[in-house]
């Protein structure tokens, strides 16, 4: 839906790094290098980024139940 504020496992704040990462990937950057540059060292934080898909804009078009 939207990037979690913190990493699920370790609790590190990660949401503020998402837009930089997304931009980098859109420009064709290497995901490993981008994650290293952003300081996401543990595989828990990296997994949150690698598995995330922004869906809020799609979901926002429908009414809340």
């Amino acid at each position: 839906m939207i990037i979690p504020i913190r990493c699920f496992s370790c609790g590190k704040p990660i949401a503020h790094l998402w837009e930089q990462y997304k931009e980098g990937v859109a420009k064709g950057g290497n995901r490993k290098e981008l994650l290293d540059k952003l300081g996401l060292e543990r595989y828990c934080c990296r997994a949150v980024f690698l598995g995330h898909i922004d869906l809020i804009e799609t979901a926002a078009q429908f009414k809340k139940v």
Partner: protein, 263 residues
Amino acid sequence: MEIQLLSSDKKKNKMSFILKGADPAFANAIRRCAIEEVQTMAIDDVEFRKNSSAFYDEMIAHRLGLVTLTTDLKTYNLPENCKCNGEGCARCSLKMTLKSSGPWQVYASELKSKDPKVKPVFGDTPIVKLLKGQKLELEVTAVLGKGKSHMKWSPGLVYYKYMPEVKIGEVKNAEEIAKACPPGVFEVKEGKLFVNKDELLKHDLAGMAEKVSGGAVTIEENPEEFVFCVESWGQLDCKEIIEQAAQEFESQLEEFGKLIKEK
């Protein structure tokens, strides 16, 4: 007891040091005090005036709760220790407001705080995305708290390992051992194996050397020396976390001593 600073990186909010002449119980007490007892600011209460975004109130409140806030320990008290008995006054709570309308990406920096010392650490944290016509208006209350009641109040990660002591005997397959371990930990010079101590402390997986060498290399743990790593989430800096942890530990012991005397 002796402390030796290994590295300190203010940009990454990380620090590591060696604690010598302590025992596991003490090291663990410090670690637990840092994670559970050190106080930080976090949003605890959210009052929604308007929310026509795609998210339910609870989801936005949860996201806001996890936002890290810069903490000023001198001016604020824990609500339960405050003169107002936890009712909420200027000395124990801080109100912030957020008003936004779409189309717009709402960031944590839009939280308007009356106290310039307490604001989101990472202003560009996305909270919610508003489409055209969607509105968000809310008031939040930030209070001091402890990590043991909710991890959002925890100041960071603190962990330690025993100091590894590597003994190298008669090694036949030096190259193979060096390859099996994280790069840089072992160096091979003229067929002989050497340990790089700085690299050894940075890695956790050097234990493979014992297996590959067939017993010629042994790694033992020194239970009186600890390699501490501190990683701050931004509310306090690493040094403050350990200082506060030590202070909390001390005040707990003092209270314990008092109770013993009374009985």
